[in-house]
């Protein structure tokens, strides 16, 4: 087990090093002079040069990368170019908000999607399956920014049940924040829902067709038990991976959703950082998001291995 973890973590580290290099290179190549962006269109050349030296932008790229990565690992994420605030606090406070939203989304999306997928598979080709398939397909076609707008129209303005805007104040407790989280979470859910449900359905169907199901039936095992103890036990295993992958989607989805609802999460911070060419902030947000995605995959791998006797944890 320890060795398995070690190897997985090793892979994770390698991927992160590659990815950080990628992020560094991409952000470094951003057009527009950082110093000018910082000082605005009114700044003088002299002030610009001075600032460039101060930021270390005049040093060779490899040095800049290593310095940046070293600082990052040590917890020094630098100062935001545009706001002058320390990046780490900014990102971490937003990370909390995003995790809260992501958590709620998964909490809604995963059981619903898995339930629907299982239901559709068990009643394959019946009207239940058709309804679920059609519903999930029509949801697939709706980008977050459209579903978000529709939900706001319906639940905020027509019905007045939920706030149209989710700019919650920092330090709002989970319970107080909940009404503000529902619509964004629902929006993000819809996109995941179809994806997870369809793959769950496929996976259940595959398992239903496996000979061991026939074995169980011929043993005289009641159908309910065949489904729960045999089929689902195996069918939900790949769902773990699916959920981990959909976590990547969720990150993408949250970027849009947070902007639609003005929710103070990492996604909105990211668009802010890009609009302002705030490179330290941009790098930190991107790395944190990638780290989150990688960790989700790591957790999924471990869960998968734990629940799958075919993988020996060595």
């Amino acid at each position: 087990m320890a060795r398995f973890l070690l190897r997985r973590a090793g892979f994770l580290l390698l991927t992160l090093v590659f990815t950080s290099l990628l992020i560094f290179l991409i952000t470094q190549a951003l057009p527009g002079d950082v110093a000018r962006i910082l000082l605005g269109r009114e700044a003088s050349a002299q002030a610009l040069a001075q600032l460039r030296a101060q930021l270390g932008l005049d040093r060779p790229l490899p040095i800049q990368y290593l310095t940046w990565l070293g600082d990052f690992v040590r917890g020094d994420w630098g100062t935001s170019f545009s706001t002058g605030q320390p990046v780490r606090e900014l990102v971490l406070s937003r990370l909390g908000n995003s995790l809260q939203l992501a958590g709620l989304t998964l909490l809604i999306a995963v059981p619903t999607a898995v339930g629907l997928g299982v239901l559709a598979a068990l009643y394959e080709e019946s009207w239940i399956d058709t309804v679920i398939s059609l519903a999930s397909l029509s949801v697939v076609g709706l980008p977050e920014f459209i579903t978000g707008l529709v939900l706001i129209q319906v639940f905020s303005f027509r019905l007045g049940w939920l706030p149209a805007n989710s700019s919650i104040a920092p330090g709002t407790g989970l319970v107080a924040a909940l009404p503000y989280l529902v619509l964004p979470a629902l929006t993000a859910t819809l996109v995941l829902l179809a994806y997870v449900a369809r793959l769950t359905r496929a996976s259940v169907l595959v398992e239903l067709g496996r000979p061991y199901v026939r074995t169980a039936v011929l043993k005289g095992v009641p159908w309910r038990r065949v489904v729960i103890a045999h089929v689902l036990r195996n069918a939900l295993l790949p769902t773990i991976t699916v959920i981990a992958i959909s976590f990547g989607w969720l990150i993408s989805g949250l970027i849009v959703v947070e902007n639609v609802f003005n929710y103070p999460g990492l996604g909105r911070l990211l668009t802010f950082a890009i609009a302002r060419r705030d490179i330290p902030l941009l790098q930190a947000v991107a790395l944190v998001a990638v780290l989150g995605f990688a960790l989700a995959n790591l957790v999924a791998d471990i869960l998968y291995a734990v629940f799958n006797p075919r993988i020996t944890l060595r």
Binding site: S138, V140, G141, W249, T271
Partner: protein, 293 residues
């Protein structure tokens, strides 16, 4: 004498395969709907300028913010532009951007995937390590970073799609190649001293095609999504281009005044994505390609 006959045979077989594919797609209402809708969108994209009543940028000051009417079936926007014409032009745009972006990704992904995974060894290792790192960055994040770096333009959007989806296509190709390269007919070709290029092109590639067709359709639907999302976030296609996502984004300010300027592009995005998804589903069924997460 033999050659024309053989060529005719090939043509016949090809058209036969197409017919079988179509028949398979039209055997179920869902994939039939998907194929028809997708074809309609494609046709509209091709015919676009000849069937729309107005140019996408043409303004009619006298007819600003008009609700749908016989003259303007989808209404007009605040500058008096015909929404129908803009939606149709946007259709062409989405095929050009998402379509060719996907095409580039599919071509590059297929070539790299074929070569690297057939060759194996450290080439494969390095290629897929780089691809994995790209895949470790969620698609929209990667797109935003790249667009930030390249600056928003149509070419950048196209490049972003290509970069984001090439690794995924390569992965799909790889899974088939790994399965195929040990197949006996591939070994048999090697036994005939065939070159690697021939083995890849004639023996391996055909087995990759079904999975590739399904993946291309799926990628295309995600690409439409991505282009629209980028347009919405304002970092993709820039105004006054009739990009659907951008139109929705712009129309958000007008949702109370001229809701039709929002409804129709939004509907167009949804319909096309749904259609392509249905098509992908049908292709998956007809070509017997398994589900991959």
């Amino acid at each position: 004498m033999a050659r024309p006959a053989a060529a005719a045979g090939i043509v016949r077989r090809r058209s036969g395969a197409w017919r079988r594919l179509l028949r398979g797609l039209y055997a179920r209402p869902s994939s039939a709907l998907g194929a028809t809708l997708a074809a309609a969108f494609l046709l509209l994209a091709l015919l676009g300028p000849w069937v729309t009543p107005y140019g996408p940028l043409d303004q009619d000051f006298a007819a600003r913010s008009q609700p749908p009417s016989p003259a303007h079936p989808f209404g007009t926007d605040h500058l008096g532009r015909d929404v129908l014409s803009r939606v149709v032009a946007g259709d062409r745009d989405i095929f050009l951007l998402a379509g060719s972006g996907t095409l580039v990704a599919v071509l590059v992904g297929t070539l790299v995937g074929l070569a690297a995974s057939y060759r194996g060894g450290w080439v494969e290792e390095v290629t897929y390590r780089v691809f994995d790192s790209l895949l470790a960055i969620p698609a929209l994040l990667l797109a935003l970073l790249l667009l930030g770096s390249l600056g928003p333009s149509r070419v950048s959007v196209l490049a972003v799609i290509a970069v984001a989806y090439t690794p995924i296509v390569a992965r799909v190709v790889r899974s088939v190649v790994l399965d195929t390269k040990t197949k006996e007919y591939v070994l048999a070709a090697r036994m005939q001293g065939e070159s690697t290029a021939f083995v890849l092109g004639r023996e391996v590639l055909p087995s990759v095609l079904p999975a590739l067709a399904v993946e291309s359709a799926l990628r295309f639907s995600y690409a439409i999504f991505l282009v629209a999302s980028l347009g919405f976030l304002g970092v993709g296609v820039q105004p006054p281009n009739p990009d659907w996502g951008l139109m929705v984004s712009e129309a958000r300010d007008y949702v109370y005044l001229t809701p039709w300027t929002l409804t129709f592009p939004a509907l167009a995005i949804s319909l096309l994505v749904i259609a392509v998804n249905l098509l992908a589903d049908g292709l998956k069924r007809v070509l017997q390609v398994g589900d991959t997460p």
